[in-house]
Amino acid sequence: MTQPVEEVYSLVLDADQLEQCTSMQQDEFGVLESIYPEFVSSRNLDGDALKLEIPVQFGTTKSVLISEPPPPSNTGIASLPEKKQTLQSISLTTLPPILINITLPRSYPLQKPPVITSIRATHIWLSEVEVLQSTLIELWQTAEPVLFNWIEYIRTGDFLEKLNLVSPGNSDIIALPHPAPRLIAPLLLEYDSSAQSSQFAQNSYPCSVCLTSLKGSKCLQLKCKHIFCRTCLEDFWKMCIAEGDISRVGCPDPECVKKANEAGEEEVARVVTEAELQRWKWLREKRNVERDPTVVHCPVAVCQAPVPKPIDADKETPGWSRLRTCPRCGYSFCAFCRRTWHGPLDKCPIAQYEHLALEYLGAEEGSPERAKLERRFGKANIIRLVATYEEEKANMQWLSSSTMQCPGCQCHVEKNMGCNHMTCWKCSQHFCYRCGERLNPDQPYAHFSNPKHGCFNQLFDVIDVPEAEWELEE
């Protein structure tokens, strides 16, 4: 119906106006090509056909919900149990380009809008292209060039609102109907990540270390979002790795330095050489081992490899939980006394673990030092060890204060009554209970009657004296 009318109008345009149209078209094309060179492919030989390839660039991350469109309700199968809807939710900052083929009528823009010969979305992520097409045509106003507006309208994603794809409450949520959400989601994600990296490579970023501006392809964005040039990061990290100062291998930003943000393996691998990466990993492992309180070092002098606590050590019986086996040399030893594994039943000799007990007792309750030991050996174990130590110590004290060792068999003897001349019940050795000296079995009392000797007149201890005094008083 309208066609003949337009034809009539087109006849009205005179040669001057047509020429004006041609020059306006050329100007517009020139503008587009300089602003969005990657969106416009050059005109064909005839000069009136144009191909636009416009990606959607949100500028922020949007969450895109892809769901199957609801089945038409008025069909015969409506009564069937409703098919479970598949829903995919992904975060995107871009969507693949909308491809538009256009021919420009000779009387565009003065009299006619551009003619859209075809419109489709890459990967067919958008099915309602017809609606978009009519919307684009509506944007045209007589005598106004419209292509730039079209590009902006699509690039910014504004058209999604017109297509009712933006969640009414939250503009950061886009609901995208698609017959196969599972198929389209990975395609959209792949496009998004490649678009981001190519965009990053094209932009320029100022590196605040060398104070120059460089193309993104020469820069690296760290996980804290700070961007530095690769050369600076390489120089910095190489130096730190060479000096063994791996805590500085991280973002050079002052805030990140204060927070001690260290770089991840992925980042380090992208910046330094393979040999440096290996050294960095080795240094990091070494440091982590040094920090890890559960690790003990292999007592074999030539090995000294870190030996981690077995995962189920805490669940083992107390005896077995002391067992450690060096992963490097295979030496099995006791974590407490560091001697060759002496089985789950034998106790560690007190001298071997005394330092541990003293270390534990020396630290305050709840202190990090105690926590460290508790993690290394298990809390119950260390408490048991300390209890054993304290008991042993008490025993030792009692032994040294209340008993005398037989000089013959080293057996401890406690005297409960009688004189200081002792005869060992085990080896029959005669000895003085006061000084531990061996006594002549034939003349054992000579020891106590020699005035030059310290035990002179001490056959009986002072304890007996009060009784004697009491007797005297009586």
Binding site: S208, L211, T212, C232, D235, F236, P252, P254
Partner: protein
């Protein structure tokens, strides 16, 4: 041209172009790696009105290692050694970041003058002074600013305090060592003149800042 030289040159020219920060960086000689920085003492502190000069040495691995800075101008401050000008500031040590520049570091020094950290002192004597009597500390700091950094001197309480403490005290207050003053006094110069000359020369013994005895005598004969 290596990266270090390129960056230092850029920093020097950036600082020249920036008229608002009042921070200056100059060359000592031809080397761009030994520089002299200066900044005005912060307002509202005993250092107000003084101009403080800083000796800057750029290490080989700059900017990945911190720049070395010490005060040329004598400063009476808990975190600055009154004898050597050494500075105790975290960003000059383990909190250094390659993103920090000579200018931003000098600005940090400026703010260090505003907010002393007496609990982490470089000069224990000064820190003790600061902790025990802040007003007396500020008097000395103002006096030092006046005689070493060209400050205006004490504001309202003129003639009070520092002046009346006698020559002996003046040696200490001026931060000079008695031995240095005595040495030149024995050469036959008047004590007050010696103090004056050494103060003018910012004298800290013959090894620091390379001031020879001849130079001192020359100054005394003026």
């Amino acid at each position: 041209m290596d990266a270090r030289l390129r960056r230092v040159n850029k920093e020097i020219s950036d600082c020249k172009n920036d008229k608002t920060s009042q921070i200056k960086i100059e060359l000592f000689d031809e080397s761009p790696f030994h520089l002299k920085g200066s900044f005005p003492g912060p307002e509202g502190t005993p250092y107000e009105g003084g101009l403080f000069e800083v000796d800057i040495v750029i290490p080989d691995s700059y900017p990945f290692q911190p720049v070395k800075m010490k005060f040329i101008t004598k400063v009476y401050h808990p975190n600055v050694s009154s004898a050597s000008g050494a500075i105790c500031l975290d960003i000059l040590k383990d909190a250094w970041s390659p993103v920090l520049t000579l200018k931003s570091t000098l600005i940090s020094l400026q703010s260090l003058l505003c907010s002393p950290e007496p609990n982490d002192p470089q000069d224990a004597e000064v820190a003790k002074h600061y902790m025990t009597s802040k007003s007396s500390f500020e008097e000395t700091a103002t006096y030092w600013t006046q005689i070493y950094a060209g400050g205006p001197g004490p504001k309202e309480k003129k003639g009070k305090g520092v002046g009346g403490k006698g020559v002996q005290d003046e040696v200490a207050i001026a931060g000079l060592e008695r031995a240095h003053v005595d040495r030149f006094e024995t050469l036959g110069f008047e004590r007050s003149k010696v103090i004056d000359a050494l103060r003018r020369l910012n004298y800290r013994g013959p090894n620091i800042a390379q001031i020879t005895d001849d130079r001192v005598v020359e100054e005394l004969l003026k």
